[in-house]
Amino acid sequence: MEHHFDQELKALKDRLLTMASHAETAVNRAVDALVNRNLELALQVRVDDEVLDQFEIEIDELAINLLSKAPLASDLRLVTMAMKLSQNLERVGDEAAKIAKRARDLSKEPPLKLNLEIPRMSSLALGLLKSSLDAFVNRDSVAARALIPRDKEINAMHKQIQSQLIAHMKESPDNIARSLNLLVAVKSLERIADHAKNIAEEVVFLYDAEDIRHAEK
């Protein structure tokens, strides 16, 4: 007979996986809206963000209820990790909403005549998020560890695009509004990658009981 406690843990994990799937969809839509100037998709992301906010509250409630039953060892790690994971996913939703808002504004303007690597950066950030969530689902701490350095590539790309946009703004005041919107959007992509890295670190803690955060400092 399965313990009630195990059933509650399973329910927590199921909700986390559903939340993760929503977060991934929100980022997908936001990136698609930004890269392909798709206004309709941009509008959907606001709804995704509200759904993610509700998931965060629900998962916290489940986790607090489980904590009151004093879980230990791997159960304790799962419950504490669930709270952090849901917070990271909620913030991923916030960033997706910011990207979508900028995509909406940008879709009303003519595109900037500038060759930026935003599609590639979007693909990398989205890939990192997807892989970190896959590592959680597949209980794969080795894969999670391997993901962490990928955040640096995205940070470097962010800096490069930022420099290009600043230079572009200096060329003409007409470029400023659109460049600022893009600056905010790429910053959000960079933050999504940060959250994906946080998730990978939490996956390592969950499965290997090793805290690898801030190891580079």
Binding site: H3, A70, L72, A73, R77, A209
Partner: protein, 275 residues
């Protein structure tokens, strides 16, 4: 003691949980290849572990795993049971407590014990605490009064009983009776206090007082506690040993046992999925 012997003794692994500088090598209580039989039943199997001075070591494990039996070996309470055979060695402060010349009464002064059910004598509160001191030859008077007060203070009971020291101890609540038993145990200034599920019959408030008391007492005493309450072990102990079917399965810092045990049986036990 030779290094060879030390290497055989299992010391808790992982970081020290107490925060203070832990003895690097020499354990205060050393158990080496201890075997205990009750008649044909092999109750403790090749147990080796080293417990540090002035820390709380918790013994956990399912009923019948041998944890209380091992606890009772530490002051030779098992000597009182017919048909018990003990092999291996057990040293306290480097001295073999099973050596032929050991005075068991003296040993039990050094190693006090508190049981699951409080067992005050049917005497006054004062006489309960003074009992061991009088046996040791302390006469009534200022010195005895001071020793009784100090023990009751140390057991966090003084304020509650100072105005009724000469009333029956049996009139105290369960939690107070248990603290009285602790006061009685510490009055004779033991080095080690053994506790066999000392709070299992108490309500959460009385349990919390006992746990606070244990954390205070470890400044002066080495404490070994048997408990079925995982959260209690997590709250009060520095090191934890998990036993199963007479074997020591894992011995490590409490933090490690309750957040990341090495052995799957320990993980299954502390998460309640045993069997």
């Amino acid at each position: 003691m030779s290094d060879t012997v030390l290497q055989k003794i299992e010391m808790p692994s992982g970081e020290p949980a107490s925060g203070k500088a832990t003895p690097a090598a020499t354990p205060f209580i050393e158990v080496e290849k201890l075997n205990l039989h009750y008649g044909a039943a092999h109750a403790l199997k090749d147990i080796s572990l080293g417990m540090k001075e002035r820390v709380v070591t918790a013994f956990i494990g399912p009923s019948g795993c041998g944890k209380s039996t091992l606890l009772r070996c530490l002051n030779r309470m098992n000597d009182l049971i017919d048909g018990v055979r003990i092999g291996g060695s057990m040293r306290i402060g480097g001295h073999d407590i099973y050596a032929k010349d050991v005075d068991v009464i003296e040993l039990r002064k050094r190693v006090g014990m508190v049981f699951q059910k409080s067992n005050p004598f049917p005497k006054s509160i004062y006489d309960n605490v003074a009992y061991g001191l009088r046996i040791q030859g302390m006469k009534s008077g200022g010195e005895l009064d001071a020793a009784v007060e100090q023990s009751l203070q140390s057991a966090a009971l003084w304020d509650e009983v100072k105005d009724r020291l000469h009333t029956s101890a049996l009139g105290l609540s369960g939690g107070q009776q248990q603290r009285l038993c602790i006061a009685r145990a510490i009055a004779v200034k033991p080095e080690i206090i053994l506790m066999d599920e000392p709070a299992s019959a108490l309500d959460p408030i009385a349990t919390s007082r006992i746990e606070d008391l244990i954390l205070e007492l470890k400044k002066d005493f080495t404490i070994v506690i048997v408990t079925h309450n995982m959260q209690q072990a997590a709250r009060i102990s520095d090191d934890t040993a998990f036993f199963y079917l007479g074997e020591l399965i894992e011995f490590a810092s409490t933090k490690k046992i309750f957040t990341n045990p090495t052995n799957k049986r320990t993980e299954d036990y502390v998460t309640g999925r045993f069997g």
